[in-house]
């Protein structure tokens, strides 16, 4: 295995200075993906900048409008246990709890999951349905990027070299906002999803408004179920759900792999989208 020069800056500005000097630097967060990529020779970094000692980088805060601010270095376990997340977006904690095993959740960070951009990952799909904003650090700026714009393709984000994720924000919910994350793992509970569905909508008297639906593991990035959303429109009742869910087949682009054939995943996507919609109004 190749060696590299390793740094542990303690503040965001110090991290930025380092990266400005070493534009090819690779970021290191929890290390669950990094360690494997390194050992498999898929990355050969010369400089590595760990974010683990940056003070406050793993904090989770609630704002006064019911929103959340999640530091990039917060682990999945921190999210699952966070009273702030449980209070404001318990569905997000539920989604984080579906990731792998406790042991992986104790080490893998939220920022790492988003930056790694594995289309089979769970948290990115839920964050997309919740319209999260990614606070990016780059020289002389800290833009907010809607998370939907961050994901390009498998293992590819819109982050340029030298840019990194500082935190993720989720806006507060309304009194009628409902959300759900369903992960289908027919082989074992700690597996990656065969198909996953994150859905959010406003629900009043059993009618659904402003649905936002994303799927995981069925394309190069979290896939938005545009046709389903369009068919649902505003004020849809449950009897229209099955027909709307069937349209998901054309919104996704799954591949044949060990978790099922592309055709099987299309069929399961339909089943789980309908199930997600029914859960929202239940």
């Amino acid at each position: 295995m190749n060696g590299f020069t390793y740094h542990e800056p303690t503040t965001w500005p110090a991290a930025q200075d380092l990266i400005a000097r070493e534009p090819d630097a690779t970021m290191l967060a929890g290390g669950t993906a990094f360690t494997l990529l390194l050992r498999q020779g898929l990355i050969r970094p010369t400089t590595v900048v760990s974010l683990r000692r940056i003070s406050g980088a793993n904090r989770i805060l609630a704002d006064s409008h019911g929103g959340l601010w999640i530091g990039a270095m917060a682990t999945h376990s921190t999210v699952v246990r966070s009273p702030e997340v449980r209070r404001n977006w318990p569905e997000f904690a539920d989604a984080a709890a579906t990731v792998a095993t406790l042991r992986i959740r104790n080490q893998a960070t939220i920022g790492g999951s988003v930056a790694h951009a594995d289309p089979a990952s769970d948290v990115p799909v839920m964050l997309a349905a919740l319209d999260a904003q990614v606070i990016v650090r780059k020289p002389n700026a800290a833009p907010r990027v809607p998370i939907d714009q961050l994901f390009i393709d498998t293992f590819t984000t819109s982050l340029a070299p030298g840019e990194f994720i500082e935190s993720i924000q989720i806006a507060g919910r309304g009194p009628n906002t409902r959300a759900v994350y369903l992960k289908y793992t027919p082989r074992s509970v700690d597996d990656y999803a065969t198909v996953s569905v994150a859905a959010r909508a406003e629900v009043e008297e059993g009618r659904l408004r402003a649905p936002r639906i994303f799927l995981g593991a069925v394309g190069g990035r979290p896939m938005r179920a545009m046709s389903v959303e369009a068919a649902l429109g505003d004020g849809t009742e449950a009897r229209a759900f099955a027909d709307a869910a069937a349209l998901v087949r054309s919104d996704i682009d799954p591949i044949d792999d060990v978790r099922g054939s592309a055709e099987y995943k299309r069929e399961m996507a339909r089943v789980f989208v309908e199930r997600a919609l029914r859960t929202l109004v239940a």
């Binding site: 590299f4 020069t5 290390g31 494997l36 590595v48 406790l102 992986i104 104790n106 080490q107 700690d190």
Partner: protein
């Protein structure tokens, strides 16, 4: 290529090790500290054979950069028994048939120790949730579950 000095406490003993930046915690534990009770199975974070406690949390030592051990307190399988006396959990693994070949056992005991610290009287559901992290090809898991229940009441 950089080298780093890491300081940590493992099983109550303070240590200072020189490590190259790309090393993993499991290599430092086994090769530098001689703590070979921690096993390497899959090397990719799935099997749990390499489980250790870092500041009380179960992690895969095959996935953790060794530099991340700096400043932490680590418990490995060698740190469970005190003065040759097994913990109630270790005893229960023996009496309830919690192992056969033994390769997964250090990891099982580490995870179960953390489970009992978090939930002194765990339900079957809690046991399953936690122990899903650790694969066993021999026991069929029932002996492990029984052992944890037994240790919980003693």
């Amino acid at each position: 290529m950089s080298e780093h000095i890491i300081r940590f406490t493992v099983n109550g003993v303070r240590r200072e090790q020189h490590v190259a930046a790309q090393r993993r915690l499991i290599d430092v534990l086994r090769d530098d500290c001689g703590l070979t009770g921690t096993k390497e199975g899959c090397s990719v974070g799935i099997c749990g054979a390499c489980s250790v406690l870092v500041d009380g949390e179960v992690i895969s030592s095959c996935l953790l950069p060794a530099t991340y051990a700096d400043g932490t307190t680590i418990t490995t399988i060698e740190g469970l028994a005190r003065g040759g006396e097994l913990t109630p959990l270790q005893d229960a693994f023996i009496t309830e048939g919690g192992f056969q070949c033994g390769i997964c056992t250090p990891g099982q005991l580490i995870t179960a120790t953390a489970l009992l610290a978090a939930h002194p009287r765990p339900t079957d559901t809690q046991i399953d949730e936690w122990m899903t992290s650790n694969l066993c090809r021999c026991t069929g898991y029932h002996g492990i579950r029984r052992a944890i229940h037994k240790a919980a009441v003693t």
